[in-house]
């Protein structure tokens, strides 16, 4: 919970990691390239006094996570989003057992979302069933650009992917987080294209599709599909730190999202440990649309409350204390949305 000027905010960090990018865990040069790319993101967009040293960044462990996300970071709840990257790291990038173990120890604070790869076929489906039972999964995180043998990506509307989505429906996994990445086969296509999300969102209306990083670098395409689908949400991981590094661009992103998606479909996330939630929450609550962007309405306190936690709480059935709720429930799709969403 974060409190400022008499207003109390229930905070859900909808995208956190417990990763191991240390040299001892690297399988090949790509593992090193991947964690270095993350570290450049971190250095580029963090305030100077929030920048970690490289060694800490490669592995920080469970205690540091609990401190950064909950003790210092104001989060009431956080959701692990698995990033396996088994082709790059010996025990994977995100540490499945450590994160799941931590979530089991603190079920009131942490939810663990696992991953699957539809390219694992029938065997992977079996594994998904076992994982769903053992981990009590409510959500999964899919990285469509994950390398897998000769393949460097897949689309959500491929036949095997559909079978996995149908299995999710049966298993009660209702939140499908999707992160698009730079590779896809064939390379003739734009790997960041979100058209496949559009197709499956239409076909599986009982699933919620949370597009991570609000579709960046294809914000416009994401907005266009999300405005037409009732079950497509935008996760702010990676977009959040612009609130500090490039506040005008952040205002444009938020302004566009509020216009096209509406205030009930946007989820706060730090992408910890890419960035730490404390300064993101503080700066977001202080944030306002600048005067030189008159085309966007000012962002309201109620909108900030929904984005910071109430929307994610609705997706994950989290029990929000009465005093932190709004008169109208967040995630209520009957709430008035922006003009773009009605077009």
């Amino acid at each position: 919970m974060y409190e400022k000027n008499g207003e109390k905010y229930y905070v859900v960090d909808a995208h956190v990691h417990l990763w191991d990018g240390r040299e001892s865990n690297l399988k090949n040069v790509h593992g090193k390239q991947f964690i270095d790319c993350f570290y450049d993101y971190h250095r580029n967009l963090s305030p100077e006094d929030e920048v970690w040293d490289y060694d800490t960044y490669t592995y920080y462990g469970a205690d540091r996570l609990m401190k950064d996300v909950f003790d210092d970071g104001y989060a009431d709840h956080a959701i692990f989003q698995a990033t396996l990257l088994s082709d790059f790291y010996k025990t994977g990038f995100g540490q499945t057992e450590e994160a799941f173990g931590l979530a089991s120890k603190h079920p009131d604070k942490l939810t663990y979302n696992h991953a699957y790869d539809p390219r694992n076929g029938e065997e992977g489906l079996e594994q998904l069933r076992r994982d769903a039972e053992r981990m009590n999964l409510k959500g999964v995180k899919l990285y469509t650009a994950e390398w897998h043998g000769d393949s460097r990506g897949y689309k959500l509307d491929e036949p095997w992917s559909r079978r996995y989505l149908e299995e999710c429906l049966k298993l009660g996994i209702k939140n499908i987080h999707v992160h698009k990445g730079p590779t896809i086969r064939p390379l003739d296509r734009d790997a960041f294209d979100v058209a496949d999300i559009d197709k499956v969102a239409t076909d599986y209306l009982d699933l919620n599709f949370v597009v991570e990083h609000v579709g960046l670098p294809r914000l416009e395409d994401f907005c266009w599909i999300a405005t037409q689908e009732s079950n497509v949400y935008g996760g702010l991981a990676v977009a959040m730190p612009f609130v500090h590094a490039r506040p005008k661009y952040f205002a444009q992103i938020i302004g566009e999202l509020l216009y096209w998606l509406g205030e009930d479909k946007i989820l706060f996330a730090s992408d910890y440990a890419l960035w730490t939630p404390q300064w993101l929450v503080e700066k977001f609550v202080d944030f306002q649309i600048p005067a030189d962007l008159p085309e966007y309405a000012p962002i309201t306190t109620a909108q900030k409350k929904k984005i910071l936690g109430l929307n994610a709480a609705a997706l994950y059935d989290l029990d929000v204390p009465q005093e932190l709720r709004l008169p109208t429930d967040a995630g209520d799709t009957s709430v008035e949305v922006a003009a773009g969403a009605r077009a």
Binding site: C37, N44, R189, L219
Partner: protein, 245 residues
Amino acid sequence: MTAVATSVVDEIVAALSTVTDPELDEPITTLGFVRSIRVDDTKVVVHLRLPTSFCSPNFAYLMASDSVDALRRVGGLGRVVVLLDDHHDSDKINAGLAADAGYVGTFGVEAETSLDELRRIFRHKAHTAAMERCAEALLKDSAMTVDDLHQVTLADLREGPHKEALLRRRVAIGLGVHPDDPVLVDEDGAPLAADAVPLRLRFAKAVRISIEGNSHFCRGLLATRYADVEPDGSSIRVTNARSTS
């Protein structure tokens, strides 16, 4: 022998400045993607670099192979060698360029036919953003409202960089540049009815914000990754080892 600008180097830089990052719609020279140029009596060697190891390999390949084509058009440079540094597909792309293998030859089973459609999509995005800039400038600088925009033709646009950029991008997607041609067009280049303009313009704005935002982010990441990047891209390391200039 660094930073000696000669006419041959100027020609090389000019050629490379015709190569754009399709996603960002800007020349690779001003983005800082050209790391170094070395020219001697028998060849030119250009090193390219990108903001991350994981920039999309298809766009990386497009920029590298476009650079080869642009340098070959200069003539008289001898052998043209373009190398992409520090990318997850550097080995693959550099080998493909050295062997003149083409896109399909470079990426093998990962490739299907060509990157023409990919290029087309981003040319259209670039045009959409340029169209929005012109429309917004009109709304800002004149008494015109959104309701008038469907009647606006190229002749109505004030001369300047926004209009020049729009004309270039119209040509790139096969649209005409006649003064009577409408400015506001749909995805296929067809004129818009008055009631279709607001949503088209609103989406065009999202496209423009997206391209501009990506461009700033990529520049920032490049500067974080490489200490020698200047904001205007003037950080190209030039070596002229020719015996005569």
